[in-house]
């Protein structure tokens, strides 16, 4: 082993650590700041206090926003999982002309610039009276979450033996019963993972929400957005920490579910 190659190796790994630090730094810095006693977001934080958490939890604006976010996310999850699972199964199992086009259509929200879709939805929903309504938000988020569910369920479908369904049908079970008792349990990990993706997508969604919410109907991201532009306060850091924990749990859950899948 030559000296220059050892130096190169050390430099390389230092660089990689630096990038890892770059990736993690913002993710974690908001947590300590949320515990500061000061009224600013200076680092390192001064003292240790839960007061910002109390402020946020007791603030009616945050409370309402949380409830709204929760409602929207859960409804989005329900809709997108139902539609998405069905779509994934249909695309996987059947053959018809234009199947590629349909698949492209379902996946295209992923590649469209979000701002463009947001204004389109805003203008159209305004005309249809859906802007500023819960239903409107749910519909918009469902469109965004649908591709995630489809991709997740499709991945699981590849691991399922198709003969199982045929066996069930051959034994006399109807399509719905077959789905409920045979197919669904087998693709459940993919469905659940997709559901978590859908929930998180809706929960964190901000661009569409900015256009589709009003002063009386706000989600957490929208509230963060308006607060953050006004002033940088540790209260937002407290909100961020809570949201971070939720995201981390969601990610861990998905990994656990999908790891069992792979075994």
């Amino acid at each position: 082993m030559t000296a220059s190659s050892t130096i190169a190796r050390v430099v390389f790994w230092l660089a990689v650590c630096a990038v890892a630090a770059f990736l993690l730094l913002p993710t974690v810095v908001i947590i300590p700041i949320s515990f500061t006693t000061a009224a600013n977001t200076l680092f390192p934080p001064v003292g240790f206090s839960f007061k910002w958490y109390r402020t946020v939890i007791e603030d009616p604006a945050w409370q309402t926003a949380t409830i709204t976010s929760l409602k929207v996310a859960l409804l989005t999850m329900a809709c997108s999982v139902t539609l998405g699972t069905a779509a994934a199964l249909a695309l996987f199992r059947s053959q018809f002309i234009g199947k590629t086009a349909v698949r492209a259509l379902i996946l295209s929200p992923l590649v469209t610039p979000l701002i463009v879709l947001a204004i389109g939805v805003f203008m159209v929903f305004s005309r249809w009276g859906l802007a500023g309504t819960l239903v409107g938000l749910v519909i918009a988020d469902t469109v965004l979450a649908l591709p995630f569910v489809v991709v997740s369920v499709t991945a699981t479908l590849y691991t399922v033996n198709p003969n199982l369904e045929l066996a069930s049908l051959g034994l006399g079970a109807g399509p719905w019963r077959t789905f409920r008792r045979v197919t669904l349990p087998l693709i459940l990990p993919g469905v659940v993972a997709g559901a978590i993706f859908a929930f998180i997508t809706s929960w964190d969604e901000v661009v569409m929400a900015i256009f589709l919410t009003t002063a009386s109907l706000r989600t957490i991201p929208v509230l963060v957005w308006s607060q953050v532009r006004a002033e940088i306060s540790p209260a937002v850091a407290a909100v961020g920490s809570i949201l971070f924990v939720i995201s981390a749990l969601g990610m861990a859950a998905v990994r656990l579910i999908l790891r069992d899948e792979q075994r």
Binding site: A8, L23, V111, V116, I119, I139, P221
Partner: protein, 284 residues
């Protein structure tokens, strides 16, 4: 048995219909509406207006420039990171994966907010730079191109690392042994063997980062100044504040066209690259 299979398979198509309807109504229609709104009475006057207003043209160029810059930064940071992941095993791989994917799961709004805290004049970065004596006064990281680049790079980095990593994983490590025993020093082995084989991943990563970067709105709004405005912000402003739906729609269509052009451009580059590799196996 086959009839049963086909009937079963075809009945699934019906289940697909609601999804198609939803997407048509709430995705295709809004996009079509945007296009339609941008050409009132089939007139292109708003496009003309935008393309002849220096401020707007500047914004379009700036969006391009920023996206290119961010893509470049992401490739620079992401390529070694992807390489490290492809060579790592066990706990090291898990650690690198978590570091990469954890931010992915945190909303980009919060991550941008975190950068606001870190980059402000009294923030951690400036504090460290002053403490280590690199600078004497805080430098304006926030409200600048640097801040926007950092924020966007942080969000786009996982999109860059993953495709490159996926390709690198499938490169046979014996090839590097073969290059080595054939007499190639590590640098030559990398340039002539490893890097060319990793290029498909690099192309995919670059496409992804660049096209996603074009549409950024929240991050430049929070981390940049008015000099760093990108198309996304303009669109939001026109629709949300100015209520100039026609102009905003026209800008949105321009953004769509630019995104499409970017995909097309990268597709051509990739195709050309493949041709070249196939034709010239030997160097010079």
């Amino acid at each position: 048995m086959f009839g049963l299979k086909r009937r079963f398979a075809n009945s699934w198509f019906l289940v697909l219909v609601p999804s198609i309807v939803v997407l048509l109504c709430f995705f295709v229609v809004p996009l079509a509406y945007v296009v339609g709104r941008s050409i009132p009475d089939y007139s292109l006057k708003y496009y003309v207006m935008i393309l002849t207003t220096p401020v707007y043209v500047k914004v379009i160029f700036l969006t391009f420039k920023t996206s290119i810059l961010v893509t470049f930064v992401c490739l620079l940071l992401g390529y070694p990171y992807a390489y490290a992941m492809s060579r790592a095993q066990g706990w090291l791989l898990i650690a690198l994966s978590i570091a990469l994917l954890l931010p992915f799961w945190v909303s980009f709004l919060l991550r941008t907010f975190a950068w606001m805290i870190l980059l402000q004049d009294t923030g951690l970065i400036n504090k460290v730079l002053i403490a280590t004596g690199i600078i004497n006064e805080p430098i304006g990281l926030i409200r600048s191109t640097v801040g926007v680049t950092i924020g966007m790079a942080h969000i786009l980095l996982p999109y860059v690392v993953l495709p490159i990593y996926a390709v690198m994983r499938r490169i046979d490590h014996r090839l590097m042994d073969a290059a080595s025993i054939s007499g190639a020093r590590p640098v030559r082995a990398f340039c002539r063997v490893y890097f060319p084989l990793s290029l498909p991943g690099v192309y995919a990563a670059a496409v992804l980062a660049f096209t996603l970067g074009l549409g950024f709105y929240i991050t430049p709004a929070l981390l940049g100044s008015s000099r760093n405005t990108m198309i996304g912000q303009l669109i939001a402003e026109q629709i949300g504040e100015q209520l100039n739906f026609e102009a905003g729609s026209a800008m949105a269509v321009i953004l769509l066209i630019l995104t499409g052009m970017a995909f097309g451009f990268f597709g051509v580059v990739q195709w050309l690259g493949k041709q070249r590799l196939a034709l010239t196996g030997m160097s010079h």
